[in-house]
């Protein structure tokens, strides 16, 4: 009961913070909507990265630290190969590369460590992170590269008659959102409706039992790491097209940590909704809370975007440790 109360207070506070700028007249409706949309778009990108974490955690109980590195690696592959071939061919080839990477990781890292503690596997993925980071630069170089999706970068104005000045949105953001939505629908179908999806969920719960009913652990791991690789590819291309392909992409992936804490480590919808909450939350905080803090406490302001997600995740950990949609485990004592 007490937990529920805390949860309601947390949500009420979030909601109050969300509508405060509108109610207090700190912002016009048009600008407010623009910030909101900007937040949602950023959130989609977080969601994409978080999705990779969730996939692997769901199916193997491994927290894959290397997801960010995989995003960078995929983006680098596409960017560099697209210099020599059409974009679609580069992406197709990048899919092959990510599947091959999954094979290698399964064979060299996961298989020897089967049935080890989660901590051991976490350390192993930490090693994979640095390897993939470095290897990507060895193969593809370490400059800043571009991915050109062929979508105009200039923002377009919509709803001009509804709000004064209209709302500016980017076409590539809309494309990214559509891609993310499609990916999520496919993954949800896969997990809930196919026997392989069921097998993945079974493996996540108990390796030994899954093997004993004839689920081939090794193949499942290759499948799920391939899926995570493909999700990383989509995230990498979207990020890369927006910000340029550079090392910082793998760091931005750390933003996906608060997202999975918020959404729940085992939930695909959780990754999406968590990403959106974090994306909107930090944009709102940066744009509207920052100036307030400057005025009230005479601070320098700024930088809120960097820590807001983590503070929010911490609050959620206190009130709802399994996240919004995570599986609640009932342990017998």
């Amino acid at each position: 009961m007490k937990r529920n109360r805390n949860l309601i207070i947390l949500f009420a506070a979030l909601l109050a913070g969300l509508i405060a700028p509108l109610v207090t007249g700190a912002s016009g409706a048009g600008f407010y909507t623009e910030v909101l949309l900007g937040g949602l778009m950023a959130g989609v990108l977080y969601s994409l990265v978080a999705l990779g974490f969730v996939l692997i955690f769901k199916a193997s109980g491994v927290f894959n630290f290397a997801q960010g590195a995989m995003v960078l690696f995929a983006a680098l592959s596409v960017a560099r190969m697209a210099e020599k071939m059409p974009l679609w061919a580069a992406m197709l080839l990048a899919v092959v590369i990510m599947v091959a990477l999954a094979f290698v990781i399964e064979r060299l890292v996961l298989r020897p460590l089967v049935n080890q503690d989660p901590v051991v596997l976490l350390m192993a993925t930490l090693g994979v992170t640095y390897f993939v980071d470095g290897f990507g630069q060895t193969v593809w170089g370490s400059d800043i590269y571009e991915i050109d999706l062929g979508i105009a970068k200039e923002p377009v104005m919509i709803l001009g008659q509804l709000f004064e000045g209209g709302i500016l949105i980017n076409k590539d953001d809309v494309a990214a959102t559509a891609a993310a939505a499609l990916l999520v629908i496919l993954l949800a179908l896969f997990f809930q409706k196919t026997k392989t999806g069921r097998a993945l969920r079974a493996v996540a719960d108990d390796h030994l039992a899954a093997q004993s009913i004839g689920i081939p652990l090794n193949r499942i791991w290759v499948i799920v790491w391939s899926l995570a690789g493909i999700v990383a590819l989509v995230a990498g291309v979207v990020w890369g097209a927006k910000l340029g392909v550079q090392f910082s992409i793998s760091q931005v992936a750390l933003k996906a940590l608060p997202v999975v804490i918020l959404g729940g480590f085992t939930s695909i919808p959780g990754a999406i909704i968590g990403g959106l909450i974090i994306g909107v939350g930090e944009k709102m905080a940066e744009v509207f809370l920052g100036p307030v803090m400057v005025k009230a406490f005479d601070l320098a302001g700024g930088g809120i975007e960097n820590w807001f997600a983590y503070v929010l995740a911490l609050l959620f950990l206190l009130v709802l440790p399994e996240g919004l949609f995570g599986e609640k485990h009932i342990d017998r004592v």
Binding site: T196, R201, A202, D205, A209, I213, I215
Partner: protein, 266 residues
């Protein structure tokens, strides 16, 4: 699933033959030169004090452990070292001493995983619910429903197994193994931690499985009353060695067995 085995059930040929099995973990010798066989349709019990090597024996049959010495013949052919997955493909199912269910999934989904090996339609066909995949899913769902009826767990289909009481979890564990339609069913202490009523139910289920489906069963059990009641033949292990083998009556009269259980005065 052959019927008509009730009463004068016919014990068939040897389906599993273990010769001179030795298994060691470093200096610990879990099994030392154990030889025994399992015949078709029989209920074969493995008993022995704690640490006698019973679970190790089951794990050898199931492919979890590979013995350093000895040969395993299954269905008349000598078997190379298989892993658990291959053992499952060959028709060997098992339950676990400490229940190993998929706790986040419903009872139904848990049992459905037992059908995984038998499902043939491709990934895309399933994801997009093509008619062929739909038909297959329904077909397997039907088989699962039979198992659910058989074990009388209709009321818990949608319940996440983590929420079920211990006795029922044991039953779901058995249900998942049965859904595989195994040739050989390994039960690791199916009645551990149960009250008298639950034990009686489980005994009935085991006998019915053996009787109605003709499944060959190898089980480990501590409750002597149960073992003597339901087994056709019993093997007794002590410190990794076989000290007795035969019908319940023969084993009960075996001096080495009595010594192992009651201790010997020196």
């Amino acid at each position: 699933m052959g019927g008509g085995l009730s009463n004068g059930k016919s014990i068939g040929d040897v389906v599993l033959d273990l010769q001179d099995i030795s298994l060691a973990f470093g200096g610990v010798r879990a099994l030392q030169g154990v030889t025994f066989d399992v015949r078709e349709h029989e209920i074969r019990a493995i008993i022995g004090p704690n640490g006698a090597g019973k679970s190790s024996m089951l794990n050898v049959i199931n492919g979890v452990y590979h013995p350093q010495q000895g040969t395993v013949s299954y269905l008349g052919a000598k078997r190379h070292d298989v892993n658990t997955h291959e053992a499952a493909v060959q028709g060997i199912a098992r339950t676990f001493q400490n229940i190993a269910l998929f706790k986040g999934m419903s009872v139904l989904d848990n049992i459905m995983t037992g059908r995984n090996l038998r499902m043939k339609s491709g990934l895309l066909a399933q994801a997009f619910r093509l008619p062929s995949a739909e038909r297959e899913e329904l077909q397997h769902r039907e088989a699962v429903e039979q198992v659910i009826d058989f074990l009388e767990i209709q009321a818990y289909r949608k319940t996440p197994v983590g929420r079920l009481p211990y006795g029922l979890q044991k039953r779901v564990d058995l249900a998942r193994a049965l859904a595989m339609e195994p040739k050989l069913l390994l039960l690791d202490e199916p009645m551990a931690g149960m009250n008298v009523e639950e034990k009686q139910d489980m005994c009935r289920f085991i006998l019915d499985v053996n009787d109605q489906f003709g499944t060959t069963i190898v089980l480990i059990e501590h409750d002597m009353g149960v073992v003597m009641d339901i087994s056709d033949r019993v093997i007794v292990l002590d410190y990794g060695r076989k000290i007795g083998d035969g019908t319940p009556e023969q084993v009960r009269g075996n001096q080495a067995v009595i010594d192992a259980y009651l201790g010997v005065s020196h």
